[in-house]
């Protein structure tokens, strides 16, 4: 499965585990995950619900740190970073696309897109310019003054993509991005992601849906917190 590009991996996971303390017993979210993601990759992480997809996604997105193992972004180990440093890393390197969009409802599309730039310390005019540029790239520049809760699901997710893109991150992380969209909007959205990937963006999509996963260049499977081969996956899923 591992195509082996000559370049250094963008992300490198080695023996990454995540154990949650839940009352008296610990719950294993992720166990000994090894994964390399290279610049220009379009990776799908497939697994049923409760398989550890979200845990992996949270760790990749620096929203959480592994209990053990090492995780490097561009060669920088992440697991020892402070919350402040993780925030900076999320701001610079990661663009999130969530299943439930997670836009600020009372903000306009443009202000939602500007949000990462706000925390990057970009000035007002530059923010507006880059937000507009990002909205154009998803074909929503004419909706920039709409409040986000006035937009359709498909439009919301496009705004979310624009927000994810606006700070030119190394990685786009999409968690079930089509989960709340109708088929047509979903296809449109995956087309945008393919397009972005063709233009050089590195994308990781986490999904339980194989038709979505098929848009990716490669697929990794996860089940019970472990990354498995396609054969193992088919076997375990019955």
């Amino acid at each position: 499965m591992e195509s082996a590009p000559a370049s250094e991996p963008l992300l490198r996971l080695r023996g990454v585990s995540k154990i949650y303390e839940a009352g008296e017993h610990a719950v294993v979210g992720l166990e000994g995950a090894n994964l390399d993601i290279f610049p220009g990759d379009f990776l799908a992480v497939m697994g049923p619900s409760g398989s550890g997809k979200s845990t992996l996604m949270n760790i990749l997105g620096c929203l959480d740190v592994p209990t053990s193992g090492t995780y490097e972004i561009k060669g920088t180990p992440v697991e020892k970073l402070s919350p402040e440093a993780l925030a900076a890393l999320r701001n610079r390197e990661i663009g999130f696309i969530f299943q439930v969009f997670h836009l600020l409802p009372r903000y306009t599309a443009q202000r939602n897109v500007e949000l990462p730039l706000l925390y990057a310390g970009v000035g007002r005019e530059e923010r507006a310019r880059r937000a507009l540029e990002a909205l154009k790239s998803v074909g929503l520049e004419d909706r920039r003054s709409h409040l986000s809760n006035q937009l359709s699901g498909g439009q919301k997710q496009k705004v979310a993509i624009a927000r994810a893109l606006v700070n030119r991150p190394s990685l786009l992380l999409a968690d079930e991005p089509t989960g709340n969209l109708d088929t047509k909007s979903g296809e449109e959205l995956m087309e945008i992601l393919r397009q972005l990937n063709a233009e050089g963006a590195t994308i990781v999509v986490v999904t339980h849906d194989s038709t979505i996963a098929r848009n990716a260049k490669r697929i990794v499977y996860i089940i019970d917190g472990r990354l498995v081969t396609p054969d193992e996956y088919r076997e375990l899923r019955g």
């Binding site: 929203l63 402040e84 997670h102 949000l115 310390g121």
Partner: protein, 401 residues
């Protein structure tokens, strides 16, 4: 992220909940307005008292008969209780090398009649020294002279009000009025002085002190006013007067010497304390307003947990979140403080119009203090909710519906 961005975000958030923000601010508004209003009232009272005492020099000693005991048991039966007499006044005048003037005063009330008009007024029996000591002068004519006193002349000087009531615009000089039935020639009309200590100085008739003794049939003085030549000698002057009278009263201290300035300053101390107490009480309501802010901020943080998660996901650091919510609470309290200053100022202005006698004044320090305190309240009571917001885990915050 620069501070102005934070302020813009805070304003946005407060605008989305206008009514709630307004009600929360109301607590601070009332607190700040109360501080300013009550302190202004205190200052107004002080100004009022100060105006009442205006004209009384700082270098005046007042000798009154009888001893105001500050401690000790009931007066010993049979203890001599001396009056103050002209002899006392003469001794003070002769031996009081520190004194500029010594003015004996007899006080009484009498009916003053001119033709068909009459008026009940205060009558002061005085010597020529009264005018410079008390800083009260005639406008036309002349004041009591030494020969008036010695000869017990029946002459009088009318205060402005008395003159107007009895004579209107006509000339009073040289006319004859009846004081307690006795005929007096008007030799002077006093300049306008106004009200002091609730006492209308313009509603007085002055007559020579010895004449007054006859009219009121007494040799007991109401008081002796002493002006000390040098303000710095006020304490030694007081001691000098005390020892002189002590000797002449057969070693009985049956008189009281008060120092106008000392009395005034102790009164002002009391009034200042009153002002601070009022301000302090009002400050408590400001604190209650602060608790209101904390309460609302806690609700806000809870409601906006998802927003906090989103902001953190896109790169907001903990301190960005902390500042955002801290600024919201501070904007609430500072906005409330500003409105409170406005309301308090308007209120003080209204009192000034409704009660013109009370010269309400807003001391600038009260405005500065009330506003600063309100800002501080916003920060103080905002810290806990803001820290709570900042400490949220991004994943849990994102998951929160």
């Amino acid at each position: 992220m620069n501070p102005f961005e934070f302020i813009a975000v805070a304003f946005d958030a407060l605008r989305t909940n206008r009514l709630r923000s307004a009600l929360t601010m109301l607590g601070v508004i009332i607190g700040v307005a109360a501080v300013i209003l009550l302190v202004s009232l205190g200052e107004g009272t002080k100004n009022y008292v100060e105006a009442q005492f205006a004209g009384l020099g700082a270098n005046i000693l007042i000798v009154t008969p009888g001893k105001i005991e500050t401690r000790g048991g009931p007066p010993v039966i049979g203890a001599a209780r001396h009056k103050l007499t002209l002899d006392d006044s003469r001794i003070l005048e002769k031996k009081g090398y520190l004194f500029g003037g010594v003015a004996p005063v007899i006080f009484g009330t009498a009916e003053v009649r001119y033709g068909s008009r009459s008026r009940n007024v205060s009558v002061l029996g005085v010597s020529p020294e009264f005018s410079p000591v008390r800083n009260i002068h005639v406008e036309v004519g002349s004041f009591v002279t030494d020969s008036d006193v010695e000869a017990k002349r029946r002459v009088c000087m009318l205060g402005r009000t008395v003159k107007r009531e009895l004579f209107g615009n006509a000339n009073a000089l040289g006319q004859v009025v009846k004081v307690s039935g006795a005929r007096f020639r008007v030799t002077g009309v006093m300049e306008r002085k106004g009200v002091s200590l609730g006492f209308d100085i313009d509603d007085i008739v002055f007559i020579p002190v010895r004449t007054a003794m006859d009219i009121f049939d007494t040799d007991a003085l109401f008081e002796i006013l002493i002006s000390v030549r040098n303000k710095n000698d006020i304490d030694s002057g007081k001691e000098l007067a005390r020892s002189l009278l002590y000797k002449s009263h057969n070693r009985h201290e049956d008189f009281t010497i008060t120092n106008q300035a000392a009395m005034l300053s102790s009164l002002f101390t009391i009034l200042d304390t009153l002002t601070y107490v009022l301000g302090g009480i009002a400050t408590i309501s400001l604190l209650v307003g602060g608790i209101g802010i904390m309460n609302i901020m806690l609700v806000t943080v809870k409601e906006r947990t998802n927003e906090i998660g989103i902001r953190k996901a896109v790169g907001a650091r903990n301190r960005d979140i902390l500042f955002q919510f801290l600024l919201e609470s501070t904007t609430l309290s500072a906005g409330g403080g500003l409105c409170g200053v406005l309301l308090g100022t308007l209120g003080a202005g209204a009192i000034r119009i409704l009660v013109p006698k009370l010269p309400v004044a807003i001391p600038p320090w009260a405005i500065a203090l009330a506003f600063t305190f309100s800002v501080f309240v916003g920060i103080f009571f905002g810290v806990y909710p803001a820290r709570k917001a900042a400490a949220l885990h991004p994943i849990e915050a994102l998951r929160y519906e």
